[in-house]
């Protein structure tokens, strides 16, 4: 094990919810309830942002904008975000509860980190209401819930470094280069860099593949190619290292600076 002081993990696609499916289904279902069609790949293209910022980005996109006509929602534009976001919360909670399943191998890694005296924190683009709704499940999974920083806690979500800074403050750790950030999105990797941390991108279990364990098992031919592409994207975003899964964390062998 390396001599890092703390590891700050993202949640969906990194620790829980293989493929980061809950945020996607929440968006798709919410839009569907408003008679708006949104495809999963568009949703995934903004993954990592705080969910409200994510929603704002989606409704600005031409493919969504074009479906929100004059009388469609009978709302003035500035209030549209608020209205949609308010209805979005229930969809998020339901989907998050449904997909609050620990990714294979994570429990062991968390235990080993804690046993070695390394502090562990969590950041998430979910708002506090969603985290509170799944907190008992997270605890039952064995995840440390005393330091979870949500998008609600800060002025802006990823790629701004604020959630990571807050987590470091709560854990009482510095220097920042002795903190590892683990995330499955490009925005998350950028946030880690912005915070001065070492960053590890996660490819197989995360948003870039966007596949549940079941779906991944069904893909044989393209598997290597899509893994390589995800790896390339995370590296391009600036990740110091890319792992297929947090389960492989013990392969991180570079010593702390």
């Amino acid at each position: 094990m390396t001599k890092y002081k703390a590891v700050i993990f993202d949640l969906a696609g990194t620790l829980i919810d293989h493929g980061s499916c809950a945020p996607v289904s929440a968006f798709v279902d919410m839009f569907h309830a408003h008679d708006i069609k949104v495809d999963a790949s568009l949703v995934r293209s903004y993954m990592g942002l705080g969910k409200r910022e994510h929603l704002a980005a989606l409704i600005r996109h031409p493919r969504v904008r074009s479906q929100i006509g004059e009388g469609h929602l009978k709302l003035d534009k500035p209030e549209m975000l608020d209205h949609l976001y308010a209805s979005f919360l229930d969809f998020q909670v339901e989907a998050a509860r449904d997909r609050c399943v620990l990714i294979e191998g994570v429990a062991k890694v968390i235990q080993q980190l804690q046993a070695s005296g390394t502090k562990v924190g969590i950041t998430t683009g979910y708002p506090i209401e969603v985290v509170d709704a799944i907190r008992p499940q997270l605890q039952r999974c064995g995840l440390p819930t005393d330091v979870i920083v949500t998008a609600s806690d800060v002025a802006a979500g990823r790629p701004a470094p604020w959630m990571i800074c807050r987590a470091a403050e709560a854990l009482g750790v510095y220097p920042m280069h002795d903190v590892i950030v683990v995330d499955d999105t490009q925005a998350g990797v950028q946030a880690g860099m912005n915070a001065g941390c070492r960053t590890i991108g996660v490819s197989r279990t995360g948003n870039l593949l966007g596949l549940s364990e079941m779906e991944l098992r069904c893909i044989v031919d393209r598997r290597e190619a899509i893994l390589a592409e995800a790896r390339r994207q995370l590296k391009e975003a600036g990740a110091d290292q890319v792992l297929e899964s947090v389960a492989d964390f013990n392969d991180v062998i570079e010593p702390a600076a």
């Binding site: 802006a156 701004a160 800074c165 709560a170 009482g172 510095y174 220097p175 280069h177 912005n194 001065g196």
Partner: protein
């Protein structure tokens, strides 16, 4: 963003901080000398007093230990001494404040280049307010943000990087790679290092000798804040 310190960097208070710290300590019967008090400059002044109190009682603690432990035994007394120091300090700043030569010109130079100016300080809010009123820097807009120890969670000032993050958040500067830290004490250098700032610049205009920078990572040393524009122009812009 450039994050600067107050005393010894942008404020020319000669040895005022040291003298007030020392005077308060002596008034409460602590044994120390002005040189010793200097060693802790830039960090939490209550910790300094806790350390001196603990030492008087024969307890073997280092000043850095108080970054981690609370120690209620010494805290109460240390707070009294600290409040007296604060009175002395406020009085000094109200009557005698001098910006460091070149500081205001440097602030203007930075703003002209779209660079935000932030100040962080080991002072608590009351002393800081006296300085801010005395200089008028926030009012005039020469400085964009001032952060005190009390703005950091758990009042954790230097060498923790949390005051610096607080300023970044307030000014929406989203990467430590866009931040240069400037200060006159080892604690300032550590703060910049702990945050991961792209530049960590020591100035020689403070009360400490150059040897005090040894072992504390920094990227540059310059005579004073007046020399900052030339350095930034050469190495960062």
């Amino acid at each position: 963003m450039v994050m600067l310190d107050f005393a010894g960097t942008t404020i020319d208070d000669k040895t005022a901080v040291r003298d007030c710290l020392y005077e308060a300590a002596v008034e409460f019967g602590l044994e120390t000398d002005p040189e010793e008090v200097l060693v802790s400059i830039g960090t939490n002044k209550i910790h300094l007093y806790q350390y001196l109190i603990a030492r008087k009682e024969g307890r073997d603690l280092q000043i850095e230990d108080f970054e981690r432990i609370k120690d209620p035994a010494s805290y109460k007394e240390a707070l009294k001494i600290f409040n007296r120091y604060t009175e002395l300090m406020i009085n000094y700043y109200r009557n005698d404040i001098q910006p460091m030569p070149g500081a205001e010109e440097t602030f203007e130079w930075l703003h002209a280049r779209g660079i935000k100016v932030a100040i962080d300080t080991g002072f608590h809010r009351d002393v800081t307010e006296a300085v801010i009123e005395g200089t008028g820097w926030l009012k005039s807009g020469l400085v964009d943000k001032v952060v005190t120890v009390e703005d950091a969670p758990g009042n954790r000032g230097r060498p923790a990087p949390f005051m610096l993050f607080h300023a970044m958040m307030a000014l929406d500067i989203q990467s430590v790679h866009e931040v240069v830290k400037v200060g006159d004490t080892p604690a300032d250098m550590l703060e910049g290092y702990n945050a991961g700032c792209i530049g960590i610049v020591g100035v020689m205009s403070g009360p400490l000798p150059i040897e005090s920078y040894a072992g504390k990572r920094h990227t540059h040393l310059i005579p004073s804040v007046a020399d900052l524009p030339a350095l930034l122009e050469r190495d960062f812009l």
